[in-house]
């Protein structure tokens, strides 16, 4: 059940009615447990959603939820005792172990077999048939985050298994994040959520903006990108390869941030604050700034649980310790996407891009973009944005190429026809890319691209909504799954 499908709409309407309307109709009933009731609705919807997509793996989700619930309580009960550390370790090993088992086993088998092959030893090892549970990268990270936060004393262990299970399986974020933090999310489930008109309407606007990015921009570019990067044999000129890499960068952004907008919007509709995942990354002034704006729920996760402890461990080595920490950190970011060499190289590449920043002492929070009278970025800042963007696009090319061979092939195309007119696919798709970038540039200080809460005129707002719906109708419908759904 995709978040942009009709069945999801039916689910969300049903949840909305049970979640808000039933309690408000029974408003005279003095019931202290309305929050529990709302959590039951959310949990049932989440399990229904998960089972609808991946019934076989529902038991796994149930078991790990219960196990981590008790690990959390155990850690808290034995605070400042070695047992707490051991339980934390158990939690981390379980969470990461699950991820490694489901996502990386075949990679290890294959890599070892290849290695032995290189040494002249032939093995008869076969990759195993492991079905990867949907959303595993996201829910294991939520679980691991929980045990660490409890261990650090940043939150008390949840004694409400219903709220805890809802946190782990919250359906809008189940398949592709954002990866919410337990110390922010679980407390929200502790009290009855009252319907808030401005928040809910803003959620709807954010959903609409997400729909536009996914169904018009991302799906529009998908076919063109697949033609050249899908592993087919279509020959590209050098200039075309560059345009395709650009297109893929916009596609993955529109796809993933579109999904995130929809998930966050659904959260708002249900009165829950879901973690922000993108903050207009293309307007970043350097790579560090980019990563503070791209897939933020993952980067803050690794910053808190990998980078900071590593930095802390290596603190005597000053900046070299930090460089080591950042490279390891980004290798993990890369590997999180899956076990494949392109992700390893992607991580390494981004890690190394930080080295000059660290040596120059420019890793700190970047300044605001300076604009000129026309509201456009000043030349110097535009140059920095452009440089960052070019580095990102190159990284995306690494990310998209499934094998090293494909990547070197793409690079080799750059030698020919660099100055010929490229195949840009359907021009209208680029029109939508530009429209998306323009709207997001103008709204870069707002929560999301379609944040129109200060627009007074209802007819104008409705006109904009209808226009976007019309554009989705005219250009949408090439159903493709979400890119991050496979991670």
């Amino acid at each position: 059940m995709a978040i942009n499908s009709l069945s999801f709409l039916v689910l969300i309407v049903a949840v909305f009615v049970l979640y808000y309307i039933v309690p408000s109709l029974l408003g005279h009933v003095q019931f202290k447990q309305w929050s529990t009731y709302q959590n039951i609705v959310l949990l049932l919807a989440s399990y229904f959603f998960y089972a609808y997509t991946d019934l076989l793996m529902l038991p796994l989700l149930l078991v790990v939820t219960v196990v981590f619930y008790f690990i959390g309580i155990g850690i808290e009960r034995h605070e400042d005792h070695p047992l707490a550390d051991r339980l934390l370790l158990l939690g981390i090993v379980l969470g990461v172990g699950m991820l490694v088992y489901f996502k990386y086993t075949n990679f290890f088998i294959q890599s070892f077999a290849n290695l032995l092959n290189c040494c002249g030893l032939h093995t008869s090892w076969h990759s195993l048939r492991i079905i990867v549970p949907l959303g595993i990268s996201f829910f294991t990270f939520r679980l691991v985050s929980y045990v660490i936060e409890v261990h650090r004393g940043m939150m008390s262990a949840s004694r409400d298994i219903l709220a805890f299970a809802t946190y782990v399986a919250f359906f809008p974020c189940m398949l592709s994040g954002p990866i919410d933090r337990p110390n922010v999310f679980i407390p929200q489930l502790g009290s009855r959520r009252q319907f808030q008109y401005p928040v809910a309407t803003d959620g709807l606007r954010q959903i609409l903006w997400g729909l536009f990015k996914k169904m018009v921009v991302a799906d529009g570019l998908a076919q063109y990108v697949d033609l050249y990067l899908g592993g087919g044999s279509v020959a590209a000129s050098g200039s075309t390869t560059i345009v395709v890499a650009l297109a893929y960068t916009f596609q993955i952004y529109a796809d993933f941030s579109g999904y995130s907008d929809m998930a966050i919007g659904v959260g708002k509709l249900l009165g829950l604050k879901v973690a922000k995942n993108f903050n207009y990354p293309f307007f970043a002034l350097n790579i560090a700034d980019f990563w503070r704006r791209w897939h933020m729920s993952l980067t803050t996760w690794v910053t808190d649980y990998v980078f900071t402890p590593l930095c802390f461990t290596f603190r005597k080595n000053r900046q070299w310790g930090m460089i080591a920490a950042i490279v390891i950190n980004f290798l993990i970011v890369g590997l999180w996407h899956g076990a494949s060499w392109n992700y390893v190289i992607y991580g390494l590449y981004h890690g190394l891009l930080f080295v000059p920043l660290i040596l120059m002492g420019k890793m700190g929070v970047a300044d605001e973009v300076q604009t000129n009278r026309l509201g456009l970025p000043r030349l110097k800042d535009f140059g920095r944005m452009l440089l960052t963007f070019v580095l990102v696009v190159f990284g995306m090319l690494i990310f998209r190429c499934t094998t090293v061979g494909q990547f070197t092939h793409e690079l080799s195309t750059l030698r020919h026809g660099l100055f010929t007119f490229p195949d840009i696919g359907a021009a209208v798709n680029w029109l939508f890319v530009v429209a998306m970038l323009m709207v997001e540039w103008l709204h870069r200080r707002r929560d999301h691209g379609l944040d129109l809460s200060d627009m007074r005129s209802t007819p104008l707002r409705w006109g904009i909504y209808l226009l976007i719906i019309l554009v989705v109708f005219l250009n949408g419908g090439e159903t493709t799954g979400f890119i991050y759904q496979v991670f």
Binding site: L6, S24, A200, T201, W462, L470, L474, G477, E478, T479
Partner: protein
Amino acid sequence: MRQFITKIVLFVIVAVVLGAALDWAITTGLHHRTDYVQEVWNDVMDSTVAPDLVVLGNCVAAHDHNPQILDSILGTDSYVFAMSNLTFPYHYFMWNMLRKYHTHDPKLVVLALDYSDMSYREAKTNMENEQFLALMCDRDARRFLRQYGGYSWLDAYVPCYRYFGHHKRIKYGIYNFLGLKRYAGTPEHYKGYQGLDCPYNGHDEWFDGDFEQPIEQPVVAMLDTFLMDCNKSGVEVLMVLPPIVYELSDRVVNEAEVYRVYDSLASAHRFECVHYVAPHWLSMDTNHFESPNHLNKQMSDVYTTYLAHYIATHYSL
């Protein structure tokens, strides 16, 4: 909350009204379009043609029966009403639509059948499914397509829903409606006939396994009803099995059984059922064909001539 729900309902009403207007514009615009499938449907629904000889069937009917030859030999007015890759329920649907929009009954119906006709097919996933989109404005078409075609009530009643994702249809429809640019094109057919001027493209892999064709009893009953109707209204029916390349016939395990159904129904209603499938000589040479099911242009003329002479000797038109 009340304010929220009221506004949502209002917004949905506005959207639906605008959607309905857009739907109407696209549907009307498509009605002016003259590519093959759409134009045949326009001829049906605008009642612009009144043929005495009607050919019904799937793509075999469309590619094998040349009305020019039928008209010249028989001195009559003929027309091929065909829908590719679909089975008898659709031929019957076409017949019902013809009778709904035309007061003039034809004298003879040539019902072209093949081994697959007694099974169900889904129109929605069919390769030429776009012909049904604009058709949804007709109540009977809507009912039929929901019952047999795989279309849902959403397609039938939610404005614009069925056009979603059919970018070209939407574009043609709107452009034609606004008169901005006529997507007229040159007609790709003559009275529903399309000759295929290509060498044989039957590949070995098409014939790598035997298969069985389902014979659905409700479809058989539907054919029975159709023949009964025609009998009652004095319309003659000639059932034909147009040529199919022998190497394809060989693969259909229950081909003979299917044809027996046709033969027995024909004789029950005192109609004829003529076989041009193997071992008829027309079916025995791959050089006669463009693809395993379709004759090439030249041989379709030969076959139509053959058929026309048969009709001339057995029927008075």
